[in-house]
Subunit: 205 residues, 2 copies
């Protein structure tokens, strides 16, 4: 018996990717305007102009779309902070920029321009994978700057690195975790400067 | 014409005070069990065994009762922390105890034993007078400890006192403001120690 010729697989990869992006872009727009909690996949389908079934081909749930939006948003915050940090060689200035950058970018992307606060709040409360990974990357970045400052002699070396990093992370946490940040709007102008000052005094050799 | 003899005023002061205390005690019990938001003055009157009109003779609103409960609770937290601080002469140890004490007492009184979180959340969100006064007292206490440490030579004196105090207050804020504390339960064991450590390193002369 002759073997059937293999059915050629349609080149779905790149196309899937485009449709997913299209859904995510439209959903981001929709959620920023109407909120995440109240919107259903049906609402979203109507707004995007796709059938609900078609959307479910690409995302298994509303949360899966939310997670993608969340991950994109966190990547954007991070890219902004990384760019600000890359402009200086001074570890102390890097720390200042990290603190200020995360506060400002989080405020702007989650609370002002995009109003994605609701997604961010769900993500932070339920500890979505994107959030856990993001927090780990923030901690890694912090450690990297600390190590750089220890090597250059700008920062003290007596305290174990993990201890220093954990404490500074706790100081920063209220300014990039949206659940905490929403209760700190009165402080977001002055706090990054005041707290970087305190942290840098704690790091002086 | 003969002046009418002045009508003797009933000695209301102490009695009023007792009735007010009685209402506040019963309301504290009731709110801890059934929550503050959902309870009406009628519910409260029924539970306390007074008429609604009688309660209104002593408190103009549910919030007025809530404010009294809140003020009592904050005084209790403060008394506990002050007692812990009074046991040591070391400014650095005072700071450690202040941090740990506020975190533990706030957790216990607002979230565990009394479940007065709802009142505390309204109080913090709407910035009731008792909360504003409390925060000012906490800041004053912090400054006092800092000044003591500066005088004894334990703490550095280069940074302006107001700057140091404001920054340390910001570091402590997430652990005694109930709106922030509710999102930090995972950190309340380790954070006071780690953050006092960082703060003390920042204060070293």
């Amino acid at each position: 018996m002759k073997k059937a010729a293999p059915t050629p697989q349609p080149a779905r990869g790149p196309i899937d990717h485009e449709v997913r992006d299209q859904i995510v872009t439209a959903a981001t727009e929709h959620f920023s305007r109407y909120g995440y909690e109240k919107t259903t996949v049906s609402d979203l389908a109507k707004a995007v102009g796709f059938s609900k079934a078609y959307i479910y081909k690409f995302f298994e749930s509303k949360q899966a779309i939310g997670e993608m939006i969340c991950a994109n948003c966190l990547r954007e915050i991070e890219a902004e902070v990384m760019a600000a940090i890359a402009e200086t060689d001074q570890p102390s200035e890097k720390l200042r920029r990290m603190f200020k950058g995360f506060t400002e970018a989080t405020l702007r992307l989650l609370f002002r321009d995009r109003k994605l606060y609701e997604i961010a709040a769900s993500a932070a409360t339920e500890r979505w994978a994107a959030v856990v990974a993001y927090e780990e990357r923030v901690q890694a970045l912090l450690k990297e700057i600390l190590q750089e400052g220890r090597q250059s002699g700008d920062f003290e070396r007596k305290t174990p690195l993990d201890e220093t990093a954990a404490a500074i992370y706790l100081v920063m946490r209220p300014y990039f975790n949206p659940l905490l940040l929403q209760h700190s709007f009165d402080y977001t102008d002055a706090a990054p400067g005041q707290l970087s000052g305190l942290v840098l005094r704690s790091l002086s050799p």
